[in-house]
């Protein structure tokens, strides 16, 4: 709706928000491996895309490349089809949220929020109206004349959020914006960010190393690993259908049985046990054919005293209970699985107090609930 977007946006932008397309994006600092290594990713208009990964995996560098703070070594970045790879940051029209808020300390809340509007030379009364409207959106009315240092961390991040969206940017880039906040506030601001994404409807690109945050917020997650994208998909896809062991381990807890060989037929063997393989649970990743692992989520793992008591058709493995943790709404049994005692865990009912440390049990799961991934 701003005058600038109308001029720049080609006719392809039908939905609200902006499509961000990365093609063969590479950033090489001349180290052993490129920080970002040939990444291609299309972020759809209005989508909440999270770039997730451990530190040093290239997610922040990718965000900085989109923002224009880093220059591309190779590849292209296009907003709604228009190549922006050579544009300086101030011409890209992208809002950005930083971990340490980056509010201007010499300006009041209202002056901070008005900053992008003044840079766009909007009339004074328009600026005032927009500032009030956006402060209302982030629930910070009445703090106009406060300086940033007079606000709490959560309030400061709300001001930063207001400042980053007030000029209707093509997209909002969020660089671990909740990292500096304590746990309770983080939850509150997560809900806030989700609500604002719904109301504003523009494209959000969110960087975090916190998998829980990523699962809660995202439409889709791009999981980064050593400069490459390991897997892209909805939180449920990544959690239920990981392609690789890295993805399975990074999102949520899992029991991992490393097979040491590939899986080709309808069964798989692990340390003397033979398990049924449901073809629907086998990852299409080519690595599965040479070196595969079976992943079972803790909530899919059942515990019985003997193999005979396990439900018919389930896969089983012997286990020793090493600990039981009471988590309030559930219990977690820590297990040593199989002959070699691989560490694992099963989620139990909160009222199930029958297991105790040292019990020899049988863990079982349904073949369609396991996932065969590339190790």
């Amino acid at each position: 709706m701003t005058t600038t977007t109308a001029a720049d946006a080609p006719a392809t932008a039908t939905r609200q928000g902006t499509q961000i397309r990365l093609e063969h994006v590479t950033k090489d600092y001349g180290l052993a491996t490129p920080a970002v290594d040939d990444i291609s990713l299309t972020i759809e208009p209005g989508e909440f895309m999270t770039l997730l990964g451990p530190s040093g995996s290239g997610k922040t560098t990718t965000l900085n490349l989109i923002a224009g703070f880093e220059s591309l070594s190779a590849g292209t970045i296009a907003l709604n089809g228009a190549d922006v790879g050579k544009l300086p940051p101030h011409k890209r029209d992208l809002g950005m949220l930083f971990q340490n808020y980056a509010l201007f300390p010499h300006m009041t809340v209202a002056q901070n929020v008005a900053y992008p509007l003044r840079e766009r030379r909007m009339p004074k009364d328009v600026i005032r109206a927009k500032v009030q409207a956006v402060l209302e959106l982030v629930q910070l009315t009445g703090r106009d004349d406060n300086y940033p240092t007079q606000l709490s961390g959560g309030q400061q991040q709300r001001v930063a959020l207001a400042r980053a969206i007030v000029f209707d940017p093509k997209a909002l880039l969020l660089d671990e914006p909740l990292g500096a906040l304590d746990r309770n506030l983080r939850g509150a601001l997560q809900a806030e960010i989700r609500r604002i994404h719904r109301e504003v409807g523009s494209t959000f690109v969110f960087v975090t190393h916190d998998q829980e945050e990523a699962m809660n917020l995202s439409d889709r997650i791009a999981l980064f690993n050593t400069g490459r994208i390991e897997q892209v998909g909805s939180p449920e896809e990544l959690y239920r259908a990981p392609e690789t062991l890295f993805t399975a381990r990074f999102l949520g807890d899992s029991n991992v049985f490393e097979l040491g060989t590939g899986v080709t037929g309808s069964s798989a063997g692990w340390q003397g046990a033979t398990w049924a393989v449901d073809p629907g649970t086998v990852s299409t990743h080519p690595g599965v054919l040479t070196n595969a692992a079976i992943v079972v989520r803790p909530e899919d793992l059942g515990i019985t005293t003997t193999a005979a008591k396990a439900p018919a058709g389930s896969n089983t493995v012997t286990a020793v209970v090493t600990d039981v943790e009471y988590m309030g709404s559930y219990r977690t049994a820590m297990l040593a699985l199989g002959p070699s005692g691989v560490t694992g865990r099963a989620r139990l009912d909160a009222f199930d107090s029958t297991l105790s440390i040292g019990d020899e049990v049988v863990a079982h799961w349904r073949p369609e609930r396991q996932r065969i991934v590339a190790a």
């Binding site: 703070f69 930083f98 840079e119 300086y147």
Partner: protein, 288 residues
């Protein structure tokens, strides 16, 4: 401290003395300053102010007498200072040179500080040293070098020559004070500003400059004062048509024995003191 000691019943006496000492310290809220430090401090302060204590009374001593204590009270020397074109003219020259030189030094020094802040490693260190060199070089060496090169460039005796030379010796002051102001500057603000649509130049004007303004102003004042009382280079560059106040004062003492110098000195001392107080008066935006 006292609670820890109190838990051990065997150290009753130790607790009492420790507690008493502790309380006395807490009342003062800092470690007490020993008497001899007061003595040294006051002695040093007097040593610094002493010339002023003589020259200011002498400046009111009247035209004929150049002595202390003054025999009479008179404003003659001040009248002479402000009416004699030699004195008032050289004051005007000094002010013009100081204003232009400090402006130039401030622009160059601030730009250098910003640039060097971005650089890291040896190159930055090297450039910084180059820019600071005039601070540690003996004034006479700088003066001779300036004189020799300005002779070739026909800048001796011209206002431009004074401005260039004085700006060069003013740059280190600006560089130091702006660099220290940049120490507390969050570079993320530059990215934030860019993401909000501000060009680098606008970002400098609206974000960087306001946040380092104290450093810039401090540097500018020091550059101004340095130029205002610089005498060695000015002696070399002087011409019959253009000389600065310090040069006129030097002439007054060595050649003319003109008591007006007492008034001139008093004026310079008071002005410079007031100028150096300026950065203290500028408050940062109200924060709490």
């Amino acid at each position: 401290m006292s609670t820890d000691t109190a838990l051990e019943p065997g150290t009753e006496t130790a607790y009492v003395t420790a507690g008493r000492k502790g309380r006395r310290r807490r009342d003062r809220s800092v470690d007490p300053i020993p008497w001899w430090q007061w003595v040294v401090g006051i002695a040093v302060a007097i040593y610094f102010i002493l010339p002023t204590l003589f020259v200011i009374p002498m400046s009111f001593g009247g035209n004929g007498s150049f002595q202390f204590p003054p025999k009479e009270f008179s404003l003659d020397l001040y009248v002479n200072f402000f009416s004699n074109p030699k004195w008032i003219g050289s004051l005007g020259n000094s002010l013009v040179v100081a204003v232009l030189a400090s402006l130039l030094a401030t622009v160059v020094g601030t730009a250098a500080a910003l640039g060097l802040h971005q650089l890291t490693g040896r190159l930055s260190q090297f450039l910084r040293t180059i820019l600071m060199v005039s601070m540690v070089t003996p004034a006479i060496v700088v003066a001779v070098a300036v004189y020799v090169s300005f002779l070739q460039w026909h800048l001796v005796g011209s206002i431009g020559g004074y401005v260039l030379a004085h700006a060069a010796i003013g740059v280190p002051f600006v560089l130091v004070s702006v660099t220290s102001a940049l120490g507390g500057f969050d570079a993320k603000l530059l990215r934030a500003s860019a993401s909000l649509g501000a060009t680098p130049w606008r970002t400098f004007l609206r974000v960087t400059l306001p946040l380092i303004s104290r450093g810039v102003l401090t540097g500018a004042v020091f550059a101004f004062v340095t130029s205002l009382d610089e005498v060695v280079i000015a002696l070399f560059l002087r011409s019959p048509f253009f000389q600065t106040l310090p040069v006129q004062m030097y002439t007054a003492v060595t050649v003319e024995v003109d008591p007006t110098i007492a008034a001139a000195s008093s004026l310079v001392v008071v002005t410079v003191t007031l100028l150096l107080l300026i950065p203290l008066l500028v408050r940062r935006p109200k924060r709490r």
